[in-house]
């Protein structure tokens, strides 16, 4: 019998790889929730975080001053004009309450020829209030600064919280897209007996798996463009390194998380089972891998493990590329970690995968 495959004259668009990939697109865009979580959610999150943690111009500090005696009232009057301070004149008990609730950062109790500062020295506002109040009172009392200084204000973009968090959100998004995207779709197909139905046809199994990678590739480009683009537009978040390098980092990370999604889904039969496994995999990385705050906050002994996590490596490489403009050699170690996860998870997944 002649090899039937060699006689295949169908256009590529009617063949299994293209059709399976089309199915992935159709299923994705017909699922409004998935579109929201993939595209809108990270932008909304970035906006929210950007607003909450925006670097405000040096804050005005509110302090309390106890009134009553002549000395005390003159201190209130002197502080009234000091730069960066708002002074509330109050009695003893009101001042104690305001200090306790954090309404004021410091309370001044003046006496003849002196003053007492009441504040919590573990709070940054308390310490800065002390410096400001003391400065104002000493100057008013006639202090002259022995050295002259000048100021130049520098607010560098790239070192703000929003700059830190956007690459983290991108990494988190890539992880979710790979693990959720493959995990749910595959287990759902297995649960519906659809996997078995597919392997009862001559469909090459590799085409089924490849269709997920192709569609991830496409959506990845969109995700990067949307998230990095809107961060640049709304917050001026920079991309200092090469866009190609950024893309390569994202792509290898997407493949690694795709492999992990495949591995998680390789045997599970129920949605509950697979969601549990996915959360168990992702939860530690959300916390440890430096999405919202730096992973260097965790104890030193835990660092080798944390640094070996795929999301940590991804986030490090993304930050190095976007914020520091680092080159290939700087991201190579992170890429090696991501690559190791990619190879191991795919190899295991293909070995364990249950089609029927």
């Amino acid at each position: 019998m002649p090899d039937s495959r060699s006689e295949d004259r169908r256009p590529w668009s009617e063949r299994s790889l293209a059709q399976l990939t089309l199915v992935r697109f159709r299923e994705f865009i017909r699922e409004p929730e998935a579109v929201f979580w993939t595209f809108a959610f990270p932008i909304i999150l970035a906006l929210g975080l950007g607003i909450a943690f925006r670097n405000k111009p040096a804050d005005v500090v509110t302090i309390g001053a106890i009134h009553g005696t002549a000395a005390r009232d003159s201190v209130v009057a002197r502080l009234q004009h000091a730069h960066g301070l708002r002074v509330l004149s109050m009695d003893d008990s009101a001042a104690a309450r305001a200090l306790r609730t954090g309404e004021v950062a410091l309370v001044v109790v003046a006496s003849a020829g002196g003053a007492e500062y009441r504040f919590d020295d573990t709070r940054p506002e308390g310490r800065s209030a002390r410096a400001l109040v003391d400065d104002a009172l000493q100057r008013a009392a006639g202090r002259k600064d022995p050295m002259s200084v000048s100021e130049r204000k520098v607010r560098e973009k790239g070192s703000r919280y929003i700059d830190f968090v956007v690459p983290g959100l991108l990494g988190m998004n890539i992880m979710g897209g790979g693990i959720w995207g493959l995990g749910f779709a595959i287990v759902e197909a297995r649960r519906r007996n659809l996997l078995k139905r597919l392997v009862s046809t001559p469909m090459p199994r590799s085409h089924y798996l490849a269709s997920f990678l192709f569609s991830r590739f496409f959506f990845l480009v969109l995700e990067i463009a949307v998230l990095v683009g809107s961060a640049a537009l709304f917050f001026d978040v920079p991309v200092r390194g090469s866009v190609l390098q950024l893309f390569v980092v994202c792509l290898s990370s997407a493949l690694a998380f795709g492999g992990m999604g495949l591995l998680i889904a390789s045997r599970a039969r129920t949605m509950e089972g697979v969601s549990g496994l996915m959360n168990l995999t992702m939860m530690p990385m959300w916390v440890l891998s430096g999405v919202f705050f730096s992973s260097s906050n965790f104890p030193r002994v835990a660092q080798p493990v944390i640094q070996a996590l795929p999301l940590t490596a991804t986030n490090n490489a993304l930050r190095a590329t976007m914020l520091q403009g680092a080159g290939w050699s700087a991201v190579a170690p992170s890429l090696a970690i991501v690559g190791a996860w990619l190879v191991v998870s795919f190899a295991l997944a293909l070995k364990l995968f249950r089609w029927r």
Partner: protein, 312 residues
């Protein structure tokens, strides 16, 4: 090629733990034949057909499909088969057209997607989402996916289970047409009317074995009784009527009782019914219901196992 059977199975055996699903099963399906596996739920029909489809590995036995074995050239064999599983929920977000197009893409040669949609009469539903189809429409879509590769041999596992009578009849017509176009078909069912109506030959399966094999007419004829008489005697005291007494009536071939309901297999109604009524009169037993029907495969199953197909 003409003499190669569509399917040949020898000594098939499959156990799941302690449950023996298939227990030494042999059968041959001729090319161009519509062959039915008829049996109650749990008889082992799905296990058998999925072993034949190369989806389940048997513990023992040999399967030859279209003269080929599963252990080599699986892909070439799959090009020639059409398969409908007992339970496949196709992707709900795709349309009818997209689903059939997807399945068409798996086969090098196959039928035109539009033609197949017409054959299964889903033309109006072409652009509807699968999730919005009725049960019968979903089942016809599943059939469309099975035939879009233009198969020589079609495996259908319970193609009409759970459907309303009209949808069942619609599917029966489709299967009859497929049979007429020269394809070999193997189907499973637990409906005796379906097997009688569609199949050239039927294997009655129970507990993983074939307990009867032949054309539906032959199997029914093997009862030796053309008709079945069922009756009740609601006021009769227990033991007033017994099987020996009834078997003694002229023309009664077999007697069974189940929940106070008597079933007689008889050769000739005109001869036996009056004799039965006379006997009841003589015993002074009042008649409750009396019903007769021509013998069916159901009666064959009952006569072989003592159980009904439905509630076996």
């Amino acid at each position: 090629m003409a003499n190669v059977p569509a399917l040949k199975v020898e000594g098939l055996r499959k156990a799941y733990g302690d449950v023996v699903a298939v227990d030494g099963l042999d059968l041959t399906v001729n090319a161009g034949e519509c062959f039915g596996l008829l049996g109650p739920n749990g008889a082992g029909k799905t296990t058998t057909i999925e072993i034949c489809e190369g989806l389940t590995d048997p513990d023992a036995g040999v399967v030859e499909v279209l003269g080929q074995r599963w252990d080599h050239d699986e892909r070439a064999l799959r090009e020639r088969l059409g398969i409908q599983l007992q339970e496949t929920q196709l992707a709900e977000k795709l349309t009818v057209d997209e689903t059939i197009r997807l399945f068409r893409s798996f086969y090098v040669r196959g039928r035109d997607v539009g033609d197949v949609i017409d054959v299964v009469q889903l033309g109006e539903k072409r652009s509807s989402r699968v999730g919005k189809l009725s049960g019968g429409q979903k089942q016809r879509l599943a059939l469309a996916c099975a035939i879009v590769g233009d198969p020589e041999l079609l495996f259908l596992d319970e193609p009409t289970t759970g459907l309303d009578p009209q949808s069942r009849r619609q599917l029966w017509d489709l299967i009859t047409e497929l049979r007429a176009s020269g394809r070999s078909i193997v189907l499973t069912t637990h409906y005796m009317d379906e097997a009688e109506r569609l199949c050239d030959r039927v294997a009655i399966v129970d507990h993983g074995r074939i307990i009867a094999l032949g054309a539906p007419r032959e199997l029914i004829a093997s009862l030796g009784a053309e008709h079945v008489v069922e009756f009740t005697t609601p006021e009769a005291p227990p033991g007033a009527l017994d099987a020996t007494r009834l078997r003694a009536i002229d023309g009664v071939m077999a007697v069974r009782e189940h929940d106070g309901r008597w079933t007689l297999e008889v050769a000739n109604l005109a001869q036996t019914v009056p004799a039965l009524l006379a006997e009841l009169q003589r015993l002074q037993l009042g008649l409750g219901e009396l019903a007769t029907h021509s013998a069916t495969l159901e009666d064959v199953f009952v006569s072989l196992t003592g159980r009904q197909l439905r509630d076996a």
